[in-house]
């Protein structure tokens, strides 16, 4: 199973993983803010009303969801590019 590690530069592997950890951290921070912080401050956010939507309500019903979708695609595209950059991409069949 681990044969694909052979011939890979240890330093490069480390750099790849720490890049991944950095991206993951960014994703988790945004994820936390748009859900938990937005829930916590919903009463305050609700004072802003756009097109009939109190902003706190909007975040729970749509805003956070849209950001989740974008976040996942953003992470996927970034990581797929990083695979090539660090030479750990899977071989084409």
């Amino acid at each position: 199973m681990a044969k694909e590690l052979a011939g890979l530069d240890k330093e490069k592997l480390k750099a790849y993983w720490s890049y991944n950890v950095r991206l993951t951290t960014i994703v988790m921070v945004i994820w936390f803010v748009v859900t938990y912080v937005a829930i916590f401050f919903a009463p305050q956010l609700d004072k802003i009303v756009i097109a009939g939507f109190p902003f706190g309500y909007y975040m729970g019903a749509q805003g956070s969801l849209i950001i989740f979708v974008i976040l996942i695609f953003w992470y996927a595209i970034k990581m797929n590019a990083a695979d090539k950059e660090y030479g750990v991409e899977e071989e084409e069949e």
Binding site: M1, A2, I39, F40, P43, A51, I66, V69, E89, E90
Partner: protein, 665 residues
């Protein structure tokens, strides 16, 4: 296998034609209703026969005798289509029928479900999905077994996978039975078995391959069915067909109407009457058993003195309606008292945060639902079916996108439904109530009591079950019955597709993990598949048999399944990938402690008054999840580190390179 290559190359075209064909079919049925007098019953039968027939046909076309196709669809499902399949795998009868109703009832606080059941995919995308694909075996217990060396971890994995999936499966099968019995007037048990027949033809012959392509077909039906009614409703009431944008207006209307209703003299009168009623019931409960005897004696005396036979009959009916004994009376009257008390207080604003759940519980519930989502084995195993790690990453995005389409519409459905009821139904003379109220009243989803006897419906006289919102929306929007039938077919697709995935998870855990990996490692492919197919049928029959008992605690059981998955699976899986130092002892201890603390809080808070920080039973995972992580971490650090070989294995799971090489028959 020219056909297979041809099929995979032309997926877009095939499902495009399928979608157009389905829409044409719905239009034809609509014409049949409008011009040829098709009855609702015959429309219902045509829908069920055609859709279940379609699913069975896909199953037959996808039959297979290859292990990799049976367990992981040959790892050939493109990211986009795996996203659709995951969408219908994930969205159950509860999402389709119940979600909008929950928001209708809970207002802002109901959004915990919307955020929780979508935000979990972010966790899945960054912590698990791509790595599980790289690992590239067949089941989730496979990963636990490989990473934590041996059968102990695998066994816990099997037990957790089966408990979580089986409770969830019962709920789906019950959903199938309810839809079938409501729309076709079939007996509940007959409905269950007819629906299950469709699932079995599909999954038994083709395993994951058949389930995948059926789920894509089911997604298309369920999303079309879900989106049509709110679009029409939105266009009719606001002039904007995009309900997700337009329902801001409905929210403002709701807010204004709620204030007006709470200030209305008649509504206040009704609330007062309920308060009186609750007090009367309270006195009756305290006066048991004497109060029940007194009521009986009173009615008997009245029957003896009745002037006309009609009066007598009415009184005799009332006597029969009384509880049988003091025990029965206590249960019934306490429930009635609760309902009366609920209607005696002015409603809290729909838009107000934390009016029904406090902030703490809302945060806890959202968190538990998210982690539970990322820990459910029937969802996780879908990411084994894509060709590469790259595809796995993109596929999580597509999954959430397809789920998002329904979930961001659900609050719009809830808002339009509530706005309609508050503005156009409340205040109507009872004789002029629209037909949909009577239709859904017949099956007990809508009811009212004219407690102040003024012949007009007040808000506080009306009870609407959450499920009624989605089911009645086509009629509320003034759409023909063909759309109501479509919604039922959509609900059925949602229940069947989830049931399919769950059934496969359970039978795979038993046939692959328990039998092949732990009992007979030399079993031939033919034997393995035969065992798997047999177990599938047996599991389906057991679940149908359990479902016919219609256990009332089912909704709670499903919430518990989430917490169990969250507290036992999620920490062990994440630590297995993200912490090289995590070892067998740590994982086993973590899973035990996570699972037990979760179960203890569930049972304790539900039945024995256990209460920590006021956290409700439904969020029991709140304690088990962090404990699962902490114990895993601490015990791993206190015991010997995993072998170099194991650390290399973790290292290899973290990089995509070699993903396609890891697959063998």
């Amino acid at each position: 296998m020219a056909m297979k290559g041809g099929f995979l190359d032309n997926l877009g075209k095939i499902y495009g034609i399928y979608t157009v064909g389905f829409i044409v079919f719905v239009i034809l049925l609509g014409l049949g209703e409008a011009f040829f007098g098709m009855t609702p019953k015959s429309i219902g039968y045509v829908y069920m026969a055609v859709t279940i027939g379609l699913y069975a046909m896909i199953g037959i076309l996808s039959r297979t005798a290859k292990v990799s196709e049976y367990y992981v669809a040959g790892r050939s499902v493109p990211a986009f289509f795996n996203g659709m399949a995951t969408g219908s795998d994930w969205m159950s009868a509860a999402s389709f029928i119940g979600m909008a109703g929950t928001i209708f009832t809970l207002g802002y606080d109901g959004l915990a479900y919307i955020m929780g059941w979508t935000g979990g995919y972010v966790l899945l995308a960054v912590f698990l999905g791509p790595y599980l694909r790289k690992f590239g075996q067949y089941t989730i217990p496979d990963f636990l077994g490989a990473r934590y060396g041996g059968n102990a971890a695998r066994s816990i994995g099997i037990i957790a996978a089966i408990t979580a999936s089986f409770t969830y499966l019962i709920a789906q099968v019950t959903g199938v039975g309810i839809i079938m019995s409501r729309f076709l007037n079939l007996d509940f048990s007959v409905g269950v078995f007819v629906g299950l027949g469709g699932i079995l033809v599909c999954s038994m012959l083709g395993g994951m391959k058949a389930v995948t392509w059926t789920q894509v077909a089911q997604y298309i039906i369920l999303i079309v069915a879900y989106l049509i009614p709110p679009t029409v409703m939105s266009f009719k009431t606001t002039g904007n067909p995009i309900s997700e944008i337009a329902y801001g207006q409905a929210l403002q209307k709701i807010d204004a109407r709620e204030k007006a209703i709470n200030a209305d003299a008649k509504e206040i009168e009704v609330m007062g009457l309920w308060k009186q009623k609750a007090a009367d019931l309270d006195a009756d409960i305290k006066g048991l058993p004497g109060s029940l005897d007194a009521k009986k004696a009173d009615l008997n005396a009245k029957i003896a003195a009745a002037a006309t036979p009609a009066d007598k009959e009415k009184l005799e009916k009332a006597l029969k309606g009384l509880p049988a004994d003091a025990e029965d009376a206590k249960t019934k009257w306490t429930a009635a008292k609760g309902a009366a008390a609920g209607k005696s207080k002015p409603m809290k604003p729909y838009l107000e945060p934390f009016a029904r759940l406090d902030a703490k519980n809302m945060l806890a519930l959202t968190f538990c639902l998210m982690v539970g989502t990322a820990g459910l084995p029937h969802i996780l195993m879908r990411y084994y079916t894509v060709p590469s790690v790259k595809d796995a990453r993109m596929s999580v995005g597509w999954s959430l996108f397809f789920i998002f389409l329904l979930y961001f519409t659900a609050p719009a459905v809830a808002a339009f439904g509530r706005s309609e009821v508050l503005s156009n139904i409340v205040g109507l003379p009872i004789a002029q109530l629209p037909a949909w109220m009577a239709n859904w009243g017949k099956v007990g989803l809508v009811s009212f009591t004219d407690i102040n006897a003024d012949g007009i419906l007040q808000w506080y006289e009306l009870t609407i079950a959450p499920d009624a919102i989605v089911l009645a929306m086509p009629e509320i929007a003034g759409l023909p019955y063909v759309i109501s039938g479509l919604v039922a077919a959509g609900g059925l697709a949602a229940a069947l597709s989830t049931a399919d995935g769950l059934l496969l998870t359970i039978s795979n855990a038993l046939s692959h993990d328990l039998y092949y990996k732990m009992i007979d490692q030399h079993a031939s492919i033919t034997k393995r598949l035969a065992i798997s197919r047999t177990l599938l049928v047996v599991t389906a029959l057991i679940s149908a048999w359990v479902a016919t008992y219609k256990i009332t605690i089912i909704v709670e059981l499903v919430a518990w399944a989430f917490s169990i998955a969250a507290a036992s699976f999620f920490p062990a899986l994440v630590m297995g990938i993200w912490d090289k130092r995590a070892n067998k002892a740590g994982a086993l201890a973590g899973m035990y402690v996570g699972f037990l603390s979760c179960v203890i809080y569930m049972v304790g808070s539900r039945f024995y008054g256990l209460d920590i920080w006021g956290i409700k039973t439904i969020s029991s995972g709140l304690f088990g999840i962090p404990l699962g992580f902490i114990v895993n971490f601490a015990v791993s650090r206190m015991t010997a580190p995993p072998s170099q070989e194991m650390q290399d294995f973790v290292e290899s799971v973290r990089i995509p390179k070699g993903a396609s090489a890891g697959v063998q028959e």
